[in-house]
C-alpha cells in the first residue's frame, strides 16, 4: 500500500482506466444478454400477425381462421378483436392508457396471430395473406424482426469485442507502466533485496499485489456502475418494450458484477506480473 501511495497519481489513473474498460465490458455483456432475451421472447411468441381491415366481413374472417388452423405447419391461430387489442394496450402500457380515453374511436385493428410449428414457413404464409387484400391490411412477420435483432446482436458483439479488446490493451498498458514506475521508485531497495538473497517472488510479490489491487478497485467501481446502471436502464427499457415479455434473470447482474471483479483482478495481476518480469528480470 505504501508503494501505491507513493505513486498514487498514476495508480488512480490506472484504476479509472480499468473501471472505464470494465464498464464497457459489463455494458456489452448486458446489451448482448438483453438482445438474446428479446430474440428468445420473440421466438416464443407468434411468428406472424395479419392486421385486418376494419370493414373485413366476419364470415370471411372466420373462414380464413379455419383455413389457417387446418394448415399442417401452423401450431396456433388466435383472433384478436379490436376491443381485445385495446384492452391489451391498457394492460401492457398502463401509463399511456388514458390516451385511449381521450380518443373517441378505438384505433386498434383486429388481427389474426399465427404461431408456426416451423418458423421458416412464416414468410410464405405472409405472402399468401398479403394476397387477401380484401381482408388483410398488413402482415407483420416476426421472423424479420428476429433476423434484424440477430444481425444487431452480431454487430454489437463484434463491435463491442473490438472496443473491449482495445480498451483492455490500454488498461494493461497503463497498469504495466504504473507498476514500472513503482519498481523504479523502489529500485534501491530491490537491488539490496536481490543481493541479500531474496527469491524472485519475494521481490515480485508486492508489485503483483499492487497491480491486483488496482484491478480490484477499478473492477469494484465498474461493477457498482454496471449494477446501478443496469437496474435503472432495464426498468426504462422494459417499459418501452412492455409488449415483449422479456425474462431477465435476477442473478444475471450479480453474476456480471462478480465476473467483472474477477476480470479486473486478473488484468491487474497479469499486467503487473509482466511489468515486473520485464523491468526486474524477476
Amino acid at each position: 500500500m505504501s508503494s501505491f501511495w507513493r505513486n498514487r497519481f498514476t495508480g488512480f489513473a490506472a484504476i479509472i482506466t480499468t473501471a472505464i474498460m470494465l464498464v464497457a465490458f459489463g455494458a456489452l455483456l448486458a446489451v448482448n444478454d438483453t438482445l438474446d432475451n428479446m430474440i428468445a421472447a420473440l421466438g416464443r411468441r407468434t411468428n406472424l400477425v395479419a392486421y385486418l381491415l376494419d370493414d373485413a366481413k366476419p364470415s370471411e374472417v372466420s373462414a380464413l381462421i379455419k383455413d389457417l388452423s387446418a394448415k399442417p405447419d401452423v401450431a396456433e391461430v388466435i383472433f384478436v378483436s379490436r376491443e381485445d387489442a385495446a384492452e391489451a394496450f391498457r394492460q401492457t402500457l398502463s401509463e399511456l392508457a388514458q390516451v385511449l380515453d381521450v380518443i373517441e374511436t378505438n384505433p386498434f385493428p383486429a388481427s389474426i396471430e399465427v404461431r408456426m410449428l416451423d418458423p421458416s414457413g412464416a414468410l410464405r404464409l405472409a405472402d399468401d395473406l398479403r394476397g387477401k387484400s380484401s381482408m388483410v391490411e398488413q402482415v407483420l412477420v416476426r421472423a424479420d424482426v428476429v433476423d434484424r435483432l440477430q444481425r444487431i446482436s452480431r454487430l454489437t458483439r463484434i463491435g463491442g469485442a473490438v472496443l473491449v479488446v482495445g480498451l483492455g490493451a490500454v488498461t494493461l498498458f497503463v497498469i504495466f507502466n504504473t507498476i514500472r514506475l513503482a519498481v523504479y521508485s523502489r529500485r534501491e531497495e530491490i537491488e539490496i533485496m536481490k543481493l541479500i538473497g531474496a527469491t524472485d517472488w519475494f521481490v515480485r510479490g508486492p508489485f503483483v499485489l499492487e497491480g491486483a489491487f488496482i484491478g480490484l478497485v477499478g473492477a469494484g467501481l465498474a461493477a457498482l456502475t454496471v449494477l446501478i446502471g443496469y437496474q435503472r436502464l432495464s426498468a426504462t427499457f422494459n417499459s418501452l418494450v412492455a409488449f415483449l415479455p422479456i425474462e431477465t434473470e435476477t442473478t444475471f447482474v450479480t453474476n456480471l458484477s462478480l465476473f467483472t471483479v474477477l476480470v479486473g483482478l486478473v488484468i491487474g495481476s497479469v499486467g503487473s506480473y509482466f511489468s515486473v518480469r520485464r523491468y526486474l528480470g524477476a
Binding site: E188, I192, M193, L195, I196, G197, A198, F202
Partner: protein, 226 residues
C-alpha cells in the same frame, strides 16, 4: 570455500576482465584482493555472487559449482555470501535496527527471535546504542558498521567486502577492517577487495593480486606490492 578454476570473463565489448583466473580460498581464510582500478576485483566479486556469468571456467562456492546453478537456486547462494559495499547500500527510510532486520525479512527468517538477533549483530559491530537512528544521522564509519551488521545477522559462511574503507578516513578504515578480522576469527571466511595499501601492508594476510585480469601473486603474509 571459494574456488576459481581457469575462469575467463570477456564482456560484450570485447574487454577481458578476467583472464584464466584460478585460486582456492579455504574456509576461515582472510584474503585481501588487491589490484589497480580495472584489474578485475569487482568483476571477480560479481562472479562469486552470480551477478554475472563467466565466459568460461568453473566457480565453486561451499562445494557447489555455481556456474551450473539454476536461476531459482541463486537466492540460496547469495544467502551464503554476505556482501559489503563501499557505498554501504543502506535504506535511508529505515532505522539502523530496521535496516539490519530487513535482511532477516528478505531471507524469510523474521520471527520473534529477530529483535534479539538484530541486537546481537549491532552489539558485535559496537552500535547497540544507535538502533533507532537513521542512516542520515550516522558517520561514514557507523554506516559501514550497520552494513556489516546487516551482513552478519543472517550468519553467512562467507563475507566479501568490496572496497569497504573507500569512503572512510584512516582511523575508521582501520576499525572497520579490525571488525572484519574479528568476524573472521569466529569462523567466517572473509575476502576484502581494497586499494588501501597501508592496511594490506600492516596486516600481512594472504594477498591475491590481480593485474589486467590475471592473478600475478597469491601469497600468504604478503603486502600490497611485494
Amino acid at each position: 570455500m571459494i574456488v576459481f578454476h581457469e575462469v575467463v570473463k570477456v564482456y560484450e565489448t570485447g574487454a577481458c576482465a578476467l583472464d584464466n583466473v584460478s585460486f582456492n580460498i579455504a574456509e576461515r581464510d582472510f584474503v585481501f584482493l588487491v589490484g589497480a582500478s580495472g584489474a578485475g576485483k569487482t568483476t571477480l566479486i560479481r562472479l562469486v555472487n552470480k551477478d554475472q556469468e563467466p565466459t568460461s571456467g568453473s566457480i565453486f562456492v561451499d562445494g557447489m559449482n555455481i556456474t551450473r546453478l539454476r536461476r531459482q537456486d541463486v537466492p540460496g547462494l547469495r544467502r551464503k555470501i554476505g556482501v559489503i559495499f563501499q557505498d554501504f547500500k543502506l535504506l535511508s527510510n529505515l532505522t539502523v535496527a530496521e535496516n539490519v532486520a530487513f535482511a532477516l525479512k528478505v531471507v524469510g527468517e523474521h520471527d520473534r527471535r529477530s529483535p534479539a538477533r538484530v541486537d546481537e549483530a549491532l552489539d558485535t559491530v559496537g552500535l547497540a546504542g544507535r538502533a533507532g537512528y537513521y542512516p542520515g544521522q550516522l558517520s561514514g564509519g557507523e554506516a559501514q558498521r550497520v552494513a556489516i551488521a546487516r551482513c552478519l545477522v543472517t550468519k553467512p559462511p562467507v563475507v566479501i567486502a568490496d572496497e569497504p574503507t573507500g569512503n572512510l578516513d584512516r582511523d575508521t578504515a582501520w576499525e572497520t577492517v579490525q571488525l572484519l578480522v574479528r568476524i573472521n576469527a569466529i569462523g567466517t571466511t572473509v575476502v576484502v577487495a581494497t586499494h588501501n595499501r597501508e592496511l594490506v601492508d600492516t596486516m600481512r594476510r594472504r594477498v591475491i593480486a590481480l593485474d589486467s585480469g590475471r592473478v600475478v601473486r597469491d601469497e600468504v603474509g604478503g603486502g600490497y606490492h611485494d
